[in-house]
Symmetry: C2
Subunit: 157 residues, 2 copies
C-alpha cells in the first residue's frame, strides 16, 4: 500500500518536449466501481501490465495498491472487462529541478489534451513549477483519467 | 488468466468432516463493480492475500484473473475499500474420489450456511457426488459469496 499524492496541471506551451527522458505508450482501462477505482494498465513498449486499486480521493491524496501483472492478462481484462472505458496516451517522463513530471499526451477521443502530473511525498511538499505548466486542475474531476474514458475531451464544450 | 468453472451444492449431513485434509480461515471482501467482480481475500492462517478479478458468469464458467498480494495490503483494502461487503468462512479442503472439494462453513451473518464447491476443468467434466452433498445451487445467485456479503443467510426467510 502507498498513499498517492499528486497535482495536475494543464500546459501552456510545448517547451517540455526538449526535456523528455523517456516515453511510455499506455492504454488503461477501468472496471466500474463505486467506492474504489480499479485500473488495468498496459505498458505497450516493454509489454508489462499493472493492476491498481485506488481508494476515494481526499483532497489531492488517496490510498493506492498497485501490482504488476502479465501483459496478456492486462490486455484481456481491458478487452473483456473494461468495455469502452479505455484511455490511450503517451506518457512523457520529464525531469525538472530534481523532480519527475509525467506529461500525458492523450490519444483517441482525448486527442489534443495534455496533462502534466507530479507525484509528491507529502501534501505540502514544495516543488518548482516549470514554465510550460499552466492551470492547476488537481481538483477538477473532469481531468481524471477515469472520467476521460467516459466523457472524453472531444465531447467537451 | 484462467477460466473458472465450478459447481456448488448444499450439504445434507456432516459426514464430510471426517475427510478434511486442511482448513483455511478466510475473509473476503468485494469492491463494488458493475461488469466484473473484484475480490480481496485474506488467508489468515498463512498470512497471505489474493486479489481476484472475475468476469461476468456464463452458465457455470467465467473469466478469472488472480494474483497474490501482501497480507497487510489485503487487510487494509478489506477494511478501507470493501466497507461491510465482507464474508468470513472456514474453507475445509476435502478429497473425494480423486477430486478436490472446497466445503465453505460460513461465519458471522452467514453462520449456519455450508456450501460445497468443486472446480472443473471443463463444463462437462464428470465427477462423483459424495453422499454428503445435496441440492445443486450452481445457478442460484443468492449463494454467491458476493451476494452473501450484502444479503446474508441470517436475513433469508
Amino acid at each position: 500500500m502507498s498513499i498517492e499524492i499528486e497535482r495536475k496541471f494543464l500546459i501552456v506551451n510545448q517547451a517540455w518536449r526538449s526535456h523528455i527522458k523517456e516515453d511510455q505508450h499506455i492504454t488503461q482501462g477501468y472496471i466500474k466501481t463505486e467506492d474504489a477505482t480499479v485500473r488495468i494498465r498496459c505498458y505497450h513498449d516493454d509489454k508489462t501490465g499493472l493492476i491498481t486499486v485506488k481508494g476515494k480521493r481526499e483532497g489531492i491524496s488517496r490510498l493506492e495498491f498497485e501490482y504488476p501483472i502479465p501483459y496478456t492478462d492486462a490486455q484481456e481484462m481491458q478487452e473483456k472487462l473494461c468495455q469502452s472505458r479505455l484511455v490511450e496516451k503517451t506518457r512523457h517522463l520529464i525531469e525538472y529541478h530534481g523532480m519527475l513530471w509525467e506529461l500525458d499526451e492523450f490519444h483517441g477521443d482525448n486527442e489534443g489534451l495534455f496533462i502534466a502530473e507530479i507525484e509528491l511525498s507529502a501534501v505540502d511538499q514544495p516543488f518548482d513549477l516549470p514554465d510550460w505548466v499552466g492551470e492547476d486542475v488537481s481538483f477538477d474531476s473532469k481531468y481524471r483519467n477515469s472520467r476521460l474514458c467516459v466523457f472524453p475531451y472531444k465531447d467537451w464544450e
